[in-house]
Structures are given as structure tokens and as C-alpha cells.
């Protein structure tokens, strides 16, 4: 969280978690993503930045095949997680999504109790054999999401009754409850106030020790604060991808520079 020492962040010794090669996405006839090649590292926060409609959310949603739910979407190219192509015919998206968790732009807890919200994923994936084990998963997930202390006395209360920031952290707890290897976050703070944003950002930094986190954000400050690697998307293509410090201090591409200095976007 130390903004001043961006350049010192060292990520070189980590191995690659996600390898995307030549990813193209079409919505009907319209091409939303053009030939994206990117290698996302394990235990790293990778930020996708870029103006609206640049394809960063589309790419994010390719990583856990949420684009499958859009009837007109077609994905080409290859995306490999730990060397396995997730668009292979043998892959069941349901299993993939347990491995690649997702947090959405708007907090979207189920209209159920806080406990049930977190326990739902482990339940359907059969991760817990008994009530005690499930309780333990719920507690550790809520702790990871820095929400445990606030809600431990009212786990039966409705998840929708929490404040916006708490709801988003509940959604993070729900996503980490299935012990994913990658956590995708689609503008997780855009509906939150600055205090809740700070809490979630802090959380993202902590989650890095366990997962590879990919975050889409509109706020360049946020990208600078939380990420080690940054990818800049523009008009459906990946313009520049590199260490966050380098992207923000000495971008190689003039378009990146124009964006981070506020001239396009």
C-alpha cells in the first residue's frame, strides 16, 4: 500500500498462473477484443485499466467463462490456467468457476443470511463434510474478507441488510470460500464510498498472499495502490502490460501515457 515505492515491487520470481494467447472475443459481429496476449502471475495483483468499452471487463469475464452466459459471445484463442486450456471441450465451466472466483461491480449478496451466503459455494461443491467443517470455512472466509469481527454475532441476519462496503466484503468472502486459485474482481469498489474502498483495497493486498488477483478498475490511483502488474487496454486491444511502477512512471506506449495523464479516456 505504499504508493511511493512502486518501483521496488518485485514480482519476477513468481511463476505464471494464467497464459492467454491470441484471445479474441466477438459479440455477434462486433469484435470486442483483438488478439490479447497476457501472462498473469501467481500471488500477484494484476490491474486492468483502460477507458470504458476497451474490453478489460470482457477479458476478465473470459477468464472464468462468464461470457458463456451471453448467447452472442464467441471466444477465440487460448487461455490456459496452470497449463490447462479452460475453453477445452472437456472443461466444465462450473468446476472452473470454483477455481476462479469472481467479485462483481455491484455488491450482489444473495438475499439469504450472511452464513448462507458464504456457505453456499462450499455446500454445492461438497467442500465440507459436516456442519463443524462448514462453520470453520465460513469463519475463515469471513476473516479473510476482514468481515468476521463485524458480523460474527449476526450470522443469521440477511446479507442484504449490510452496508455497501460490508456487502462487497461479504461477496469477497463468498468468493474465497470455495478456495479459488484466482480471484477476479470487476471494478469491486465502483459502488463504494472512499472508506469502504480503502478497506477493500487493503483486503486485496492481503489476499495476494493466497491467490492471484485480477482487478478491473477505472481508478488509476487504485491500480497504482493495489497492483504489482498493470495491463492497459484500449479499443479492444492490450496496449501495454508491465510492472505497475513502470506503467505509471515510464510508459512505453504513447497511448498509455496519454491515458494515465488524462488525455484519453
Amino acid at each position: 500500500m505504499d504508493d511511493m515505492r512502486l518501483v521496488e515491487r518485485d514480482v519476477n520470481q513468481l511463476h505464471s498462473k494464467i497464459e492467454a494467447k491470441g484471445v479474441q472475443v466477438y459479440y455477434g459481429e462486433k469484435q470486442a477484443l483483438k488478439d490479447v496476449d497476457v501472462s498473469i502471475l501467481d500471488r500477484t495483483v494484476t490491474a486492468f485499466i483502460g477507458p470504458s468499452g476497451c474490453g478489460k471487463s470482457t477479458f476478465l469475464r473470459c477468464l472464468n467463462r462468464m461470457n458463456d452466459t451471453v448467447a452472442s459471445a464467441r471466444v477465440m484463442g487460448s487461455i490456459q490456467i496452470d497449463g490447462e486450456d479452460i475453453y477445452d471441450a472437456r472443461v466444465d465451466p462450473v468446476q472452473l468457476r470454483a477455481k476462479v472466483g469472481m467479485v462483481f461491480q455491484k455488491p450482489n449478496p444473495f438475499p439469504k443470511s450472511i452464513y448462507d451466503n458464504v456457505a453456499y459455494g462450499p455446500k454445492i461443491h461438497g467442500l465440507a463434510t459436516g456442519k463443524a467443517e462448514l462453520d470453520a470455512i465460513v469463519e475463515s472466509s469471513l476473516r479473510k474478507a476482514a468481515l468476521w469481527n463485524e458480523v460474527k454475532d449476526r450470522l443469521d441476519a440477511s446479507g442484504t441488510g449490510l452496508s455497501g462496503g460490508q456487502q462487497q466484503r461479504l461477496c469477497i468472502a463468498r468468493a474465497v470460500a470455495t478456495s479459488p486459485e484466482v480471484l477476479l474482481m470487476d471494478e469491486p469498489c465502483s459502488a463504494l464510498d472512499p472508506i469502504a474502498t480503502a478497506q477493500v483495497e487493503e483486503l486485496i493486498d492481503e489476499l495476494r498472499s493466497q491467490f492471484s488477483v485480477v482487478i478491473v478498475t477505472h481508478s488509476m490511483q487504485q491500480a497504482a495502490r493495489v497492483s504489482q502488474k498493470t495491463a492497459f487496454f484500449h479499443l479492444g486491444s492490450l496496449v501495454e502490460y508491465g510492472e505497475t511502477g513502470q506503467i505509471f512512471t515510464s510508459p512505453k506506449d504513447p497511448r498509455t501515457e496519454a491515458y494515465i495523464t488524462g488525455r484519453i479516456g
Binding site: N64, T69, Y120, T160
Partner: protein
Amino acid sequence: MSDATAANPMPAAAPARGKTSLYTQDALTRRRNAAEARFKMYGLVAIVVSLLVLAVMLFTIFRDGTSAFRQATIAFPITLEAETLDPAGARNPEDLAKVTTIGYGNLIGRQFANYLTAEGIVVDGISDKDISGMISRDAPGRLRDMVLADPSLIGQTIDFSAYATGRIDGYLKGRVTLDTAELDSNVSVEQLQLADILTERGILSIAFNMGFLTNPDASDQRPESAGLGIAIIGSLYMMMLVLIFTLPVGVAASIYLEEFAPKNKLTDLIEVNISNLAAVPSIVFGILGLAIFINFAGLPQSSSLVGALVISLMTLPTIIIATRAAIRAVPPSIRDAALGVGASKMQTVFHHVLPLAMPGILTGTILGLASALGETAPLLLIGMVAFVTNYPAGPLDGGVMDPATALPVQVYSWASRSDPAFIERSSGAIIVLLAFLVIMNVAAILLRRRFERRW
């Protein structure tokens, strides 16, 4: 827009406008305000008019119909003479059954006349036929059933209470007067005079009429004993079956169309056709039911099963449309959330979408059932307008295959009878029907409250 455009640099308009005060309304603003006031008034007038019409309708129905729930009865002791009812004297059920209702009718008339004489009640010029004619033609059958069920009553004197005929009943309710009786071949002035005396003596009295809700239909000659029993049973059977047929099919179809079906020309066509089916005149479904369920499949005529099948066909589109709307109203973020934690499509639907859509589905279903409850035309075609006097069997004993009728059909058939006593019966049946509808709507509201989740 006027103020905004005034502020814009529009050289052509600006000079003409000049300096205006906010305290005075210009012509355009006044016109707009007047239009708004007029529009509000139209709305108010429309609502007031429809409320008035509703009030008038309900008032008429209740004015005509409430009297159906009360019925005049004549109570007097009757001696069940063994020599008339069991001439053989052996109490043999077969012998007892040989005495027909005519025999019982004679007995009742004779006993009633004797009773009046014994009590010293005399009306000048009244014939014995007039006296026995005050008792409903329904009484002999009722007494005969009583005796056949319990032959030990023979020889005893029992307190018997019989319906008074429709005209006497109408006299007590104010429908028949001495003036109308003079023109009426069905009732004589003397009978009404006798009725007055009997009322004074407490022999003829008017009380709540349970029989209206439990009795089967009765012929034109004895409106006093006509009841809604079979119609209520038939309607209940049909609602039950319609619910069983339509809810699973309708909900399953909606879920498939809304969540699983690919969006293409075929599903578009199905969608359009479902909407069109909801608008098909109900009589068409009646003809369809007659052709398919009765003539082709050979199901029994007039049965609640066929009625329910036909009405299910009509209710299904309504339920599908309501259910799809309810499913569509579930925010997509919930589906994303469920899919995002790795729920399968079906888990998403059954764990999250369906529970959230439940209030809407139930409301739609109950309202669909309510409209089906009032459906008449298709039932006429499949023979449910038949004159049915035998109660259908229990629902588990194949009662749904037995002939029955339905509430709205009963309203229709009573409304077309000639005896004026059926006017109140018909309105009374409408009240019962309305009560059913109110109950169903209240149930819909309660279920919606019960299942509704707070966001």
C-alpha cells in the same frame, strides 16, 4: 422548456420575450398547467365512475342475493303411521322401499292438515290441496330417506321440519304479496293468510339456510330446495386439478423458456403463440375439450376432470406469462453471483431465481385460478351445465370422473330458470362465487407477503 429556451442565446426569440417575472405565469405555462389539471381530473372521473358502477353492481347482487341464504321452513310433529309406510309390518327394507315419495307426500299432507285442525288453525275457503301445497315437494323425498335410513322411526311421532314452497318463502321475504298472489296460479290468497297465522304461531319461520350451500340443484318445481352443494364440490375439484395440472407444467415451461431455451426463431414463435393462446376465446377451448377429451379420449361428460383439463388449457398461458415475468424480474446480478461461485445453471435457477420469483409465480397462479373459477362458456360445451342431483364421490374415490357442475355454470342455469325464486338463488350463487374469489385473492396477497424477501 420555455424558461430554458429563453436563457439560450436565440436572437430571434430573445427580443420578443422581454423581461419576465417569475411571479407571473406566461401563457405557455398556464396552458401546460391547465392540461395537467384536466388530465388529473379525467383520471379521477374515470376512477369515480368505475367505483360507482362496481358499487351499484355489488349492491344489486347483495340486495337480490342475500335472501337466498335464508329460507322459510314449516315445523310440525308428524306421526309415521306404520300402516301407510310399512303395510307388511315386517320392517323389511325391500318392502319399505316400495312406498314411493307419493305415499310419503300424502302422509305429510294429511298429517299437516290434521295438525292444523288440532291446533285450531282455520282459514276460510282453503282446500286441503292448498294446505299440503305449502310444503315443499322436496319434503317427501327427505322424509323417505330418513325413514329408510332408520326404519325404527316408523310408528313414532317425530318433529319434522320441511321447507316451505318458494311462493310462501317469497311471501315471508316480501317478494310475494297478496296482490301478486291473486294473479298467480301457484299460490292462493288463502295460503298466504294461513302463512301469516303459522308465522304468528311459530310453526312457519325463516332462518339461515345451510341447504343453500349443501343441497344439490333442484328442478323448477321446487326452487326452495335448490342448493350449491354439487357446484361447490365441482368447482373445488376443478380448482384442485387445475392447480395440479398447470402449476408444474407452467412453471417448468417458463423456467425452460426463460433460462435455458436458446433465443431463436422457434422460441420466438412459441412465445408469440403462448401470448396468443391467452387471448383465445374460452368457448373455443370448450369445443376443443369436447372434441379431444370427450369424443376422442372418451373421458366422461360433465365430469370435473374434463372441466379441469379444459380450464387448465386456458389457465396455462396466463400462468406461463406471469411466471416468466416473475423470473425476468429477478435481478441478473443474482444469477451472476450464483454462477460466479460455481453453481450450475440448474442450481442457480432452483436455489436462487425460483425462490425470489416465488411470490410473483404464486400471485400469478392464484389470479389465473381465480379467473378460471369464473369461467363458464367452455364448461357449457362439455356438459357441466347438466342437471346433477347426485353428489360426486370423494376425490380419492374417482369423484373427479362423476358428473358435477360448477359455480358460474350454476349461476347461468339458475338465471335462465322461469320461477322467480331462482332470481335470489342466482344472485346468492354469485355471492358465493365472489366469496371464493375474495378468499383466493386474499390468499394471493398473504402468500406474496409470506414469501417476499427484503433486499
